[in-house]
Structure formats: structure tokens, C-alpha cells
């Protein structure tokens, strides 16, 4: 926009506001496209709305694990609670998640004779996070994991049924919901919250936080009837939060522009495993209201997704079960290129450096033993996993130089025999057998944006910190919208825990705030 034009529109805007009044204009003409200009004018002068359309004690943004946990606790403490959600359905990333939550010292561990403790958990968290974790926050989730699980089961009514292992944890420590999905926790949370009298508004987007002259968060400007992703849709409205606002709006994995600002490598060649609404504008709105952000450039790529299927897909379950049982190949050279059992970051970085999809494959024996029939069946049905009778066929399909590939397989097989990989130090398991038996199952791998470690700065009370290094009054945050808990790399299954623990803390503390007016 040139200076002349912006000055001109400034004049128009001002005279417009004079005649109509900002609030009436924003509410009545929201759909005409003038709304954006009106909003800018308002934000610029930072004024409170002349009239609040609705009032609640605590307003929560987002219906994932974090938002729902916060809503239940705030309501439990007696607050009148509104939860807004910009999408048409509840659950965000939480409802598509794998339903696995890290809990130190859980009963399944005890039954299996596994020694664990919050201290050991804390060590694992810091190791994965390159010690960039804010220690107080990491310690909070490690210490409160047991209580969080009890609450999910006994108060909320979710069912966890088994113990699973995740890379990076020093022991088997993660518990899985009965339906192996985050919905196994989100839906009971949602039902519970509704039964307690928490109010929900869907297709309602938070546009900005409203702060008083003293800088206290006092409410939100929202857009009702918002139709994702159309920013012109819906109608502006103002809700007052007597006590506090809790941001539980998740990460920004689906926002290409924002993630490229943080990590320029992650352009539109990379899809995301996240739900489409993970676009992070609420994080930015918080920053505009004075909240501080941290580690926004630590964005986790999932190295186990396939370009041949959408979303999270079935390949992750194929790939992760197969690492240590079959080789991963650079199709251009026909050679292995990375430690297959290495962590998410190491593997994704290597693939991104190559710049094209790579291949993992296994033979009949290893695949049958490791990969669930369901995964294989679904992955083959959608074409992402392919079956080959010979290595020649496999090489031809993916354009791999055959001689090099055969040589590499022979080398891999010799390492399997010796249970030692001098090239990349891949973990080779006792039951791994050489890759020899037809048919062979293979798929292409290309990383997807999976998790945002960074976000808003919070303290151990889930209170958001401002750029003045002081708590930003009236604002709490929990879950993927925050940063610091996980440091550089989130350890698998710790997001769910983070959301429940800090969601609960945020909800309790928000309800405890004194009414501001």
C-alpha cells in the first residue's frame, strides 16, 4: 500500500467512524469488507468497546486437550465459562492425535516391573529438548503426570488401556486410550465440560485480545459465524472476560507464511499432519497484546509421513514399526543415508537436505512380524505402501540404480547378522532378520510439519509473560500455543500430558482471578 492510499483511507475511516461509531460499524458491516479497516482503526487506538455483547468469568480459546481441561477446572472452581472454537467441530489436533500420553510411574509400568520416576522422565525430556526446555515447566509435567492420568480416568471418565514405547524415552512409559486416538480423551472431556455447564460457541474465531489502559486483558473481539478459512465471513462481536482469558489455540503448523518466517526451509513443499485450523493467528494476536513468544523456530517435522497419502496417513505406523528391521534408502544413489532408528529431527533434517522423497522397505518376514495387518492393508489400499515380488521390480518402480541397491542390501544383511551397523549405528533388534524374503513392502517418505515446540512464554502457573518480563494480567495459556516445555524437540506422547497438566493449571488459576469490573 502506498503512502497516499493509506493516508486517504485513514481520512475516510476517521470520518466513517465519526458518523457511525466503531462498534456499531464493526458489528453491522462485518460482511462488507469494511470490517478489516474498522478493526485496524480500533486496534490502533487500543480502545475498549463501548458495549460488550456478552460477559463471562473465563473465556477459553480452543477445544483441544488444553482448552477442555482448562474449561473443566475453571467451571469446577465456580466460574462461568465460555469456550470458543473457530472450526465447525471440536478437538483441533487433539482429536486426530494417537491417544498416547507419557506418565511416569503408571500402574502398567509397575505391573511390568518397569522402574520409573519423575526424575528419570525429566532427564529424558531435557535430553530430547537439548536442554532448551524451561526446567520449571518440564518438571511440572513430569511431576504431575500421575495425577493428570488419575484425573483423566477418574474424574473425566477416559479409559487408558495399555503401555506403549516411544523413541527417546528411556523406558516404556506411555499409556494409550482405549480407541488408540486422542478422541478417547477429547470426547469425554467435551461431554464432561458440557454436563458441567460450560458454554461452547463453534465457528467463532478470536480476532484479538482486548486490553485495558493498564494493559490487563479484559476480553476478546470475536467473529461469530466464521467460516474457516474465510476471514471476511462472520460477524464481529465483543465478549468480556471478568476474570481471565485462557489461550489454548494450538500451534501454527498449517501456516506456511508464519512457519517460513521461523524456519525458512519449511515452505509449501511440506504438508502438515495437523488439522487445517492450526494456523496460529491467536498466538500472533497475543503477541500484539504484549505477550512474549519463545523458540518459535523449533518446528518438529515428522520424518515418517508419505507424499503418497494425505494427512498423517498409515505410513507412519509402517515406517516406525519397520525401523531397525529394514533399510532406508536414498533412491538416487541406492544407498542408505541415515540412522533409521535416529530421532525425528535427525532423520527429517537428512531428508530435507536431500530434497526429495526417500524409501523404506522390508521383506515379508520382518514386515509380517512388525507391521499391524490393519496398517498394511489400509496403506496398500490407498497406494502409499507397495508390494513387490522382486528387488528388481522395487528398484524399477522408484528409479533406484539396481546394482547399488543390491550391494547396499547385501551390506545391510551382513550388519543384521552381526547385529551391528558400522555405517550409521542403526539399532538392530535381536529378532531382526536379513532382508531376503519376497514379497517386499516399500513406501516413499517425505517429512511433514508435525508440532510447534515454540509459542507463548508461560510461568509454572500457566500465566503468560509479557515483553516487559512481567505476567500479562488476565491472560493464561496452555498446550501447543505455549513454548518452553519441550525445548528443541518434543519427546513423543508428551504433548498430550503437557495439555492436560497446564490446561488444568490455567483453568484453576483463571477462575481464581479477581473480577476486574
Amino acid at each position: 500500500m502506498s503512502d497516499e492510499i493509506s493516508q486517504e483511507s485513514e481520512v475516510t475511516r476517521r470520518s466513517f467512524l465519526k458518523t457511525t461509531g466503531a462498534v456499531a460499524a464493526a458489528a453491522g458491516l462485518a460482511m462488507t469488507g469494511l470490517a478489516a479497516t474498522v478493526r485496524q482503526a480500533e486496534a490502533a487506538c487500543g480502545e475498549m468497546p463501548k458495549k460488550w455483547d456478552e460477559t463471562y468469568d473465563v473465556i477459553i480459546v480452543g477445544t483441544g486437550f488444553a482448552g477442555l481441561s482448562a474449561a473443566i477446572e475453571a467451571r469446577h472452581a465456580g466460574a462461568e465459562v465460555l469456550v470458543i472454537e473457530k472450526m465447525r467441530t471440536h478437538g483441533g489436533n487433539s482429536i486426530i492425535n494417537g491417544g498416547e500420553m507419557a506418565v511416569a510411574g503408571n500402574k502398567w509400568q509397575k505391573e511390568a516391573g518397569i522402574q520409573d520416576s519423575p526424575e528419570l522422565f525429566m532427564k529424558d525430556l531435557l535430553k530430547a529438548g537439548s536442554s532448551l526446555n524451561h526446567p520449571e515447566l518440564a518438571r511440572t509435567i513430569a511431576e504431575q503426570s500421575g495425577e493428570a492420568l488419575d484425573w483423566c480416568q477418574n474424574f473425566v471418565g477416559a479409559r487408558f488401556v495399555k503401555l506403549v514405547f516411544h523413541g527417546g524415552h528411556s523406558v516404556k512409559r506411555s499409556v494409550q486410550t482405549d480407541n488408540a486416538s486422542g478422541s478417547g480423551l477429547v470426547n469425554p472431556l467435551f461431554t464432561k465440560a458440557k454436563s458441567m455447564g460450560v458454554k461452547f460457541q463453534f465457528t467463532t474465531k478470536m480476532e484479538r485480545l482486548i486490553t485495558s489502559k493498564e494493559g490487563r486483558v479484559v476480553g476478546l473481539e470475536i467473529r461469530k459465524g466464521y467460516k474457516f478459512p474465510d476471514d471476511r465471513s462472520g460477524k464481529a462481536s465483543f465478549v468480556k472476560a471478568r476474570k481471565a482469558v485462557v489461550l489454548a489455540s494450538g500451534g501454527f503448523s498449517q501456516n506456511v507464511e508464519l512457519r517460513q518466517i521461523q524456519d525458512p526451509r519449511i515452505d509449501s513443499r511440506f504438508d502438515s499432519t495437523n488439522h487445517p485450523g492450526a494456523t496460529g493467528e491467536a498466538t500472533l494476536a497475543a503477541c500484539q497484546a504484549g505477550a512474549m513468544d519463545v523458540q518459535m523456530d523449533w518446528i518438529q517435522m515428522g520424518p515418517w509421513t508419505s507424499p503418497d497419502e494425505k494427512g498423517f496417513g498409515h505410513v507412519p505406523q509402517f515406517c516406525e514399526r519397520l525401523v531397525g528391521y529394514g533399510p532406508m534408502i536414498d533412491p538416487k544413489s541406492g544407498r542408505r543415508f541415515i540412522q533409521e532408528t535416529g530421532n525425528r529431527k535427525v532423520r527429517a533434517d537428512a531428508m530435507m537436505a536431500l530434497g526429495y522423497p526417500t524409501i523404506i522397505f522390508g521383506d515379508a518376514v520382518n514386515v509380517k512380524r512388525q507391521v499391524l495387518p490393519h496398517t498394511l492393508e489400509k496403506g496398500m489400499a490407498n497406494g502409499a505402501i507397495k508390494k513387490f515380488d522382486t528387488i528388481e521390480e522395487l528398484a524399477a518402480t522408484y528409479g533406484i540404480p539396481l546394482a547399488a541397491l543390491k550391494e547396499e542390501i547385501a551390506k545391510w544383511n551382513s550388519y543384521v547378522e552381526k547385529k551391528k551397523d558400522p555405517d550409521f549405528n542403526c539399532k538392530i533388534f535381536p529378532e531382526t532378520t536379513p532382508t531376503v524374503a519376497a514379497p517386499f513392502y516399500a513406501c516413499r517418505l517425505w517429512p511433514r510439519v508435525h508440532h510447534c515446540m515454540g509459542g507463548l512464554v508461560i510461568d509454572k502457573n500457566a500465566q503468560v509473560k509479557g515483553f516487559n518480563l512481567k505476567p500479562l494480567k488476565g491472560l493464561y495459556a496452555a498446550g501447543e500455543v505455549t513454548g518452553g516445555v519441550h525445548g528443541a524437540v518434543r519427546l513423543g506422547t508428551c504433548a498430550m500430558l503437557d495439555c492436560v497438566v497446564f490446561g488444568r493449571i490455567a483453568g484453576k488459576n483463571a477462575a481464581k482471578e479477581k473480577n476486574w469490573g
Binding site: M31, R88, T89, S181, S183, N187, F202, G225, K227
Partner: protein, 172 residues
Amino acid sequence: MYTTFIPARSAALCTVAALALLVALPAFAAPKRLTAAKPDNCSACHGKDRVLPDGHPKTAKMTLAACLECHSKDSPASLSGKLPLSHRHQLAGVSCVKCHGTTKKQTPVEAAVCEACHEPAKLAEKTAGVKPQNPHTSPHYGTALDCNVCHHQHAKGENFCMQCHTFNFKLP
């Protein structure tokens, strides 16, 4: 059950008339809905827009069953996805009032209204064989997903699953 998604158009219809001037309406996209319109009286809602092709039999006394004689489910002339569900309802004898009640201002209906006739568990049973996945139950929402997420009555339906999956459901 949470409130039904409000299709942008019904919201638009509720706002000031001036708005209509600002929104360019594609043909048939947003005809003004008249509660009294009979099945054969296309122009009551569509005005001068020609809705039916030349030589189409008179629809005056047609029922949905009669439409389906030519527009059978799997034929190229299938109306699945082309005819708004509100028309199918009307042709099957479900009037506007049956869903919306007699209020002056038409408001979007709650999923519970749909469910009074289309019981979620029964629907899921009916579509159990749909490949690659039953559209009426999912690991995420079970059978609790609001109908309107996919089936908009007065606008083209949308396949919500396609956000993350490649389930090419044909949507009525």
C-alpha cells in the same frame, strides 16, 4: 449436541437487504426461499433463471420417487450432489415447516432435528459397507458428528473428511 454450522448464505439472508447488492450471486446459488413454493413452481424461488433443461417433463405432481426413475442413484444423470437436499426433502413431502418450525425468521436447525428422522446409529449401519470408510462413524467423532458439517441443506454438500483423508465419498 452443539449448534449446527450456519451456512454463510442463511446468515447473509438474515442481514440487511443492502448486502445483496454487495454479493454477486451465481445462478441458482442463492435463490430466495419461499416457504409456500410448490415443487413444480421453480420460478417462485428461482425467478427467471431456467432451472430445468429443455424438454424436461413437467414436475408438477412429481415425487422424489418419480425423479429417481430417471435420475437413478448410479446413473450419469444422478442428482446426488447436484440437487440441494432441501429439494429432496420437499419432494419427499418434508416441508420447510417440518424442520424449521413456523417462526418468521428462518434459523439453521440443530442436528437433533435431522436425527429425529435419521438416527445416527442406524445411518452408520446403513453405510457400513461404504469404501474405504464408513462416512457416518469415525475414530474421531464416533457417530456424533453434526450432520451439517457435510450435508448443507440449501447449498452443495462438502466432504469434510477430505481435509485429511482421500475418501472420495459421493455426497447427497
